[in-house]
């Protein structure tokens, strides 16, 4: 793993919570995608990506996030971003990610958002 990027993940009530730290670029995006793949194969369909400690995202990193959204769309799953830096939030908005993914201030808010609008589970 790149020394400038790291992530942790946990599954809480069947929801995957990925928490990143550092630059979400090619390496960072790929690391997120691999973590997602691993849990997606095991049936995870409700995903939270907490980017609170990632203040910089580039378009290569973003393309991985878009792929995750597309994969979840195919199975009627859902992704919610949490802890977005205002600059990152604006980037994701311009790139159109929030048409298909949610955003919440905190992980707790993101978890609660799933409770309010349950996702179709396979």
């Amino acid at each position: 793993m790149d020394q400038h990027f790291s992530l942790t993940s946990e599954v809480r009530d069947g929801r995957l919570i990925i928490t990143t730290s550092g630059y979400v670029n090619n390496v960072g995006g790929e690391t997120i995608a691999k973590e997602f793949d691993r849990h997606f194969a095991e049936g995870a369909r409700e995903i939270i990506i907490n980017l609170a400690a990632s203040q910089v995202v580039n378009s290569v990193g973003m393309s991985f996030l878009i792929e995750i959204i597309e994969r979840l769309e195919e199975v009627k799953g859902r992704l919610v971003f949490a802890g977005l830096d205002p600059a990152v939030e604006k980037m994701l908005a311009i790139m159109g990610l929030f048409r298909f993914a949610g955003k919440e201030s905190t992980v707790e808010d993101a978890v609660n958002s799933f409770t309010k609008t349950p996702t179709h589970r396979r």
């Binding site: 400038h4 090619n26 910089v56 378009s59 290569v60 980037m91 790139m95 159109g96």
Partner: protein, 528 residues
């Protein structure tokens, strides 16, 4: 034509076959990925040929190796199974698309001894054509998606450029402007790393990296990098971005990347200039406030009205060259009926000079009130000013104690301009006895005291060098053109007010439009 032995009536079997083909076409067109396409194709073939084993292989554009679409496993560099089968136990098809990618189809009939019959061949050709069409649609959708992504990214770059411009010019931000610009430049150009090096006077002052914590750029980092720099004051800010990223490996930076980096660096440059000017404006504002306070204090120190002394006329003037001057004069009645005449000039102007004048005024008032004799008084003043002033500051001063009833004037001149005493016979004497300026030497300097008696009709003029050294536009001194001593000698019939008015008018005529270079102060006393 050989026919497959489907256990259905011909009409019903044909309709079923057509329905299956139509359904296959519909499902293939719904495929959103190559993997999906492979699954749908395999499913479509198995509906028509339940005993068949289907393999859909994919070779990406520019790739040399094939992979199985079902599970993404490698399928080698050129599977022989893609070669046409002479025994017709298998169906093979290879399709290459405009983007350079290829699909390979292998369908083997696992029915014992069963070759691919003609009907199956037609169906497989049809399914392959459908699959080809569906793949073209996937490619079109992907191109469309890439185009939208690219357009959005350009929009993002422009937007971020504007936002960054606003953010770097915002004062009091958490991140320094050059560091913020580096982050944004790396993000917008997809650089994997970057640096800003601030150097000045032949040494590196600061190196900031993104991501943070990296060592300075190595020669390898500089390969294929983009860079820009600017100078501000004595510092040079050098930006370097390295390792352009893409999903397909390393890329070369593009012209737009360089333009973005240049634009962001220019924003930092403008921000630093604005910060500097803003700091200067704040400093100026603070100084003006200090000056206003000092001017207000000085206004209270300088006399607004001079005392009325029976048998004498006295008039003074002070015109500071700045809002706060370094000149001081006063005419102070003492408890014993005497009168203190004082004039002083601090080396320098502005607030520091005004502060020293303030010290002189307070100390003088205190010593006069305590009845300290003239010479010890001047010695004590010297010590006070020595302790209050910085090394380059001192005060030239003249202090005279007048007994109005007798006209007796005792005085000490501490390095000040000669005080002129115009005698009844028209001659002008100079009162120069005294010693060094106050604050110049921290020692009990033995000041000398002078003593004169002012007779009726005699004048005394105290002044500062702002009069004698007033300059005209040709940088000539007033005293060299109109010697003040002579000017004073000629004005023997005027009142102090008339004399000062005439002196100021003469100064104005001489200096013309030249700016006032020093404070103008004078005190004129006449015994009637």
């Amino acid at each position: 034509m050989k026919q497959r032995g489907i256990d259905l009536a011909p009409a019903e079997g044909g309709r079923h076959h057509i329905d299956a083909v139509a359904e296959s076409y519909r499902l293939l067109r719904l495929a959103s990925s190559v993997r999906d396409l492979g699954a749908q194709f395999t499913s479509a073939v198995s509906r028509m040929l339940p005993q068949a084993h289907t393999l859909l292989l994919f070779r990406p554009a520019g790739g040399a190796l094939w992979e199985n679409t079902a599970d993404g496993t490698p399928a080698g560099s050129g599977p022989g199974i893609l070669s046409p089968s002479e025994e017709r136990t298998a169906y093979n098809a290879l399709r290459t698309f405009p983007d350079g990618s290829s699909l390979g189809v292998v369908v083997e009939n696992h029915e014992p001894g069963g070759p691919i019959v003609d009907d199956d061949l037609v169906s497989l050709e049809l399914l392959t054509a459908f699959m080809e069409s569906a793949y073209q649609e996937i490619l079109h959708r992907r191109q469309e998606k890439d185009l939208i992504f690219s357009l959005n990214h350009r929009l993002l770059q422009l937007n971020s450029l504007i936002d960054t411009g606003i953010e770097v010019s915002r004062f009091g931000g958490i991140i320094p402007p050059h560091q913020l610009a580096l982050q944004r430049a790396a993000s917008l150009t997809n650089a994997s790393r970057g640096w800003v090096t601030v150097s000045g006077n032949g040494r590196i002052i600061e190196t900031v990296s993104f991501p943070p914590g990296m060592e300075g750029p190595s020669p390898r980092d500089r390969l294929g990098s983009i860079a820009t720099s600017f100078s501000f004051g004595e510092c040079t800010y050098a930006f370097l971005l390295s390792g352009k990223e893409s999903r397909n490996g390393a890329h070369m930076f593009e012209g737009t990347d360089q333009m973005l980096l240049d634009a962001l660096a220019r924003q930092v440059h403008a921000s630093l200039e604005n910060r500097y000017l803003h700091a200067q404006a704040l400093e100026m504002q603070r100084m003006e406030q200090d000056v206003a306070v000092a001017a207000s204090i000085q206004k209270r120190i300088l006399p607004t009205d001079l005392p009325h002394i029976a048998g004498y006329e006295v008039e003074g003037v002070n015109i500071p060259s700045r809002s706060v001057g370094g000149d001081y004069y006063d005419c102070i009645p003492l408890a014993d009926g005497r009168l203190a005449l004082v004039i002083a000039d601090v080396a320098g102007k502005g607030v520091p000079a005004a502060l020293l004048v303030s010290s002189l005024h307070a100390s003088l008032a205190a010593y006069l009130e305590s009845g300290t004799p003239l010479v010890p008084l001047m010695q004590r003043l010297n010590r006070v000013i020595c302790h209050a002033a910085t090394d380059d500051k001192f005060i030239t001063a003249f202090l005279g104690l007048l007994t109005p009833s007798t006209g007796e004037l005792h005085s000490v001149n501490a390095g000040h301009n000669p005080v002129y005493w115009r005698r009844g016979n028209g001659t002008v004497d100079e009162l120069i006895k005294g010693g060094v300026p106050l604050g110049m030497l921290d020692m009990d300097f033995p000041y000398e005291e002078d003593r004169i008696v002012i007779q009726a009709g005699e004048h005394v003029l105290l002044y500062t060098d702002g009069i004698t050294e007033a300059q005209n536009e040709q940088s000539q001194l007033f005293d060299s053109d109109v010697p003040l001593k002579e000017f004073f000698r000629r004005q023997n019939r005027s009142t102090p007010r008339d004399f000062i008015d005439e002196l100021l008018a003469s100064l104005k005529r001489f200096t013309g439009d030249a700016p006032q270079s020093d404070d103008i102060t004078a005190l004129h006393l006449v015994r009637r």
